[in-house]
Symmetry: D3
Subunit: 261 residues, 6 copies
């Protein structure tokens, strides 16, 4: 039972995985600016890497990543004015996920995890999941869907202190900044050009949004906060904490669901 | 400049408002369970009432409320297993808002505020707003859209202390609980049956979601936290703080936009 | 069994209504110009008020009103050139109704009435109703849908004589005129500014339609016929006749359906 | 200027027609039961034949007929329980018309007539027409659309008397009955099997609709009223009156529009 | 078993055909330029005529033809720059076919053939067919769909030699040229103006496509190859070979399917 | 000008590429069974690798691959009965491509190549491309789209002879067989388990399609023809020929387009 990436498996290997009772996890990311020091695939890559790490410890197969996400917003991703940011409409995102999850079900999977690493995808994923359940519940009443729209809700206080050094600005603004840069340095160091990392800040970050996007609520660099405080070591700490937490949750939930049936 | 509710105005009064440079605010809510003590219209009503209070101080007309929202989720609204909760698909919500905003633009409004009071509507509203801007920017390049998907991001520390008495559980879970009950007691006391308010809690509130919805992550009552700590006085304090904040934001943003053009 | 407005009920009260075998009625209206003397909400308000009057005598709960309707047409509503008229595409209207009716069914309602007061909504409502039946008939074979796209087909001859005084121009053109003004004076007198009522008329009212809309087939005021002949007394007569008729129909149909099953 | 049917023309002939300033008319019908004596194509055929007769006298080309219409309704077409009736969703009908009209515009037509002979298509056609105008007005500001959703609104009193012999039941119910049978006997006698014509009637014809369709509001034969009173002579009279009326309207409207520009 | 065209049958005749176990065939074509010598309906007409010839020998009813097809492409149909070519979006084509096939199923047909004569419709038809099967398989598990997106894959070598005289350019380019012109001369000679037939050729025919369409990959006439080599006799030969082949396939497949059940 | 993969570039690098006049190529593939010896990502991987090889010699950036394609068909991909095959509806594929191409345009790209390696995606891609051009031509009149739905139309005769050894069965059936296996052995040898390659064949391969899918028209292994004749050397020959051909086409077309403007 070596392979975990569905893309690299043959159909027979997938069939065998289904027969063994394995589940499937769908990484969902984005193609979005992440400052001058990180690649557009940051969200897609982090989603896929974490899904893989979780999969290894949760009896899951990792499906090909949904790499185009919903439109970037100024106060959480810089917004749609950056070249390179390549987004889809909400209805498109919902359609992809619906179709793919229905195919998982046809293939035989009954434990399905949707794993997202891009704030703006929130609710579209849930919509897709709910629609699929409505459409399939009569024919496949035993499907279980775990919808993870944010990879975590909070970190341990000591982790927060270690990572942010007292300068935590809120998760929304933490785009291409300390947290994400650290994590990328840990899992994909060759894709980070740390010499270009900088600290940046919009004039202010409103709790609302505006169109057309005024310059004052986003930054020139695409970094929304401090990136220079990042380090590979910090990345490792949070990655492992998040992963551990996810593995526990996935295993616990499917176990409980099984017992309940 | 008496009337504020577009529904009660004649077309000539709306035309005159446009000619005077007034804007329009669209309240967006939901029809969703709010425990045994509050009505299904809670989100729609709060959205409309707040929009009206803001409108009076920001030169805005209040459009008819979008009273059906996106699907309720267990850890923020109890979820779609409650009878009475009456939700729409995400694509439907997006469609309504798109169409209505385009009509505002045709009518002549150039300052448009989308005001939401239902967490689950997030991103669908932004999707609608973005789509409209794409579709209309050539013909109407001077439209400004303010998209307020959450009525506030935080309250003053002293307000938090006063309202929650040290027991703040996070905003998601604060459904039909201290905050919302207090606010309803202030703005619509006749719709609150406080004698039925109770404290409740799910076994746990995960940061992810599950379908089909397991009982362990929602409550029997639909109250997700402590409702008994609510009071009209608390409601008044938070209502006024939120309103004040919104009025300042709306006025400030449109003023700055105008200056920039 | 006091409350009739679903919006003001708690989820438990709705559940109890379902358990008692009650049905639900969905008022569908529009936000459309109704001359210089009546508000944009006229169709939405009349739909809701009538639904409520019917509900009280037919064991129905009144759901929140669909207040944005399909595009206004020149010869029946003045058309889409009036500011303030705020309409949605047909597909949007269909989507809202489909979603909401499916939620009624999930909630447990089996007697569902769709009640419309806006000519232009015709057929979109039926499309929605038909789609829902197709989608749900396997899981919920016992749902009954009553689709009332026009509140009545004709009035008694003596009522016609009394109301129109020999000047009945056809129902299409009767927009914001004698009939509607009278009814509004009866059910919502505070929203009618009768001093602004006037008689108006397009150059002609063709049986077809045109785009872009030529001025010659609509009026400047938005009143399509004689509004000055309206009176509260007339409104009361027709309101009661329509209501009586609807109550009889609703009760008769559900009774017969029940007997047939 | 011989050919009138676009389907039989070459692309060069269409191009020449456009260059001569001719317009285009799109017949819209249905595939719907019309009793035991008339074919399913009745609405499509009548729509096409009338469009052709009008086209000959109005400088129009006749486009291929939209032969699948919106769902049949019990009190105007027998309803969707009849085998053979082959209908489309409203959104499908709207989509076809939108696409086709946009192609007319790309081809160069500026005078476009939508001509319908199937009550249930109402409003979907207008929706399509309106959408097209919204989408194209910037690029093609000179397009004129005439939307004829019903072929006529009324006939001359003497015609009514002659055709119905005092037994006119209302136009909705006049399905596969005196009027339609007469017209078919005139324009397509070989498709009418008059020996199977009969008089029929539902228990009653409500002004509302019901799903699932109860037998009591439709007929067994699909004829909704008296078909035996039909005759070819009656058909000729009404056909010519309707045609004359349409020709006058089409010519008058395009002439006035031209003058106004 | 006289009539074959569903459009000319009454609903009772269709019902009887269903009761006799007959199937239905849906011709799908296009409204597309076919050079200066052939009409826009060429694909629709050939589709319908062939369907009829097949139907007579396969126990099938011929449904009304889908006469608007997907967008013409330069190297297979001349492309969307020709006036007269009147196409629909892919989603529209899929919607029509889905709706119509569902109605066939409701009517009672269990053997359904989709027969296409327009290369560009490929895959949209399959999408529609697949969607219908997904939507209906629970309620109607015994439906069989034969999807014929190209009328044949190859002709006999001797036929190829006879028809093309050694100048076969590939099927894509064979638009409005030898093959199609010959066939039209055989089945609809009155619609072919052979005196206008000519030989034509683009600068080159790439295996890819381009937008906007450059003149170099299409022709001025709309004929993509040699039309002058066509003859009625050639048309008869290929028509009969194609028909024979189709009849054998249809009969063989439904027979085998029946045996397998 | 080092990086070619957009996913690995920063937004600033993409902006610079645009400023240098570079174009973008979007690989489109599928997640589809490719026999017991090749992975599900075969089409996605080949599409991406070839796009990259072309990009290096054509001044293009390679966008993230669309890795879910339209539904597999029995005679070209084995069909939708294989577990692991994970497909989307046609409308979903069209939506993704539309959205992504519009973002390319917003980012500033004017030379856009859509490159597909999955037969079933045909026409959906063209539909997307055409829709985008319609939607954007007013705002961005200088966009050029090259739509490559098949990577080649034919190979040199000597290549055909070398690769197929006289056993070429037609391109459709060449799924997971000599050609594709050879190419995969050349570009991704570690993903091919050649020891599991075998020769296989359906009872027959009809030129039409059937639903539900009968076993007789597909194979058990998913290989549709002879895979054992594949070799890395053959793969290299065809890969280089295809690549050379594509590079020439892309460079030639954009050069000519530029000259024409």
């Amino acid at each position: 039972m070596g392979k975990r990436l569905m893309s690299e498996m043959t159909w027979m290997e997938v069939r065998d995985a289904v027969d063994m009772g394995e589940g499937v996890i769908l990484p969902i990311g984005a193609t979005e600016q992440h400052g001058p020091h990180m690649p557009l695939c940051t969200d897609a890559l982090l989603s896929e890497k974490m899904a893989l790490d979780v999969a290894k410890r949760s009896n899951l197969i990792v499906a090909p990543t949904v790499c185009y996400g919903f439109r970037s917003r100024p106060t959480t991703g810089g917004g749609q004015t950056f070249p390179g940011t390549t987004s889809v409409r909400g209805s498109t995102l919902t359609a992809i996920i619906m179709d793919v999850v229905k195919e998982f079900i046809r293939t035989g999977f009954r434990k399905i995890v949707l794993f997202n690493w891009h704030f703006e995808n929130t609710n579209f994923i849930y919509d897709a999941a709910y629609n699929v359940m409505e459409d399939t519940k009569q024919e496949y009443p035993d499907v279980k869907l775990l919808i993870i729209e944010t990879p975590f809700s909070k970190l341990k206080p000591e982790t927060m202190e270690y990572v942010f050094e007292g300068q935590f600005p809120g998760w929304g603004i933490e785009h291409a900044s300390i947290f994400e840069t650290s994590v990328m340095m840990y899992v994909a160091p060759n894709l980070v050009n740390f010499s270009k990392a900088k600290d940046d800040q919009a004039e202010y970050y409103p709790f609302y949004d505006m169109l057309p996007i005024p310059k004052r609520i986003t930054t020139e660099s695409g970094i929304l906060w401090k990136a220079t405080l990042a380090s590979k070591e910090k990345g490792e700490v949070v990655w492992k904490e998040i992963c551990e937490n996810l593995v526990n949750s996935v295993n616990m939930e499917f176990t409980r669901w099984e017992k309940e049936n």
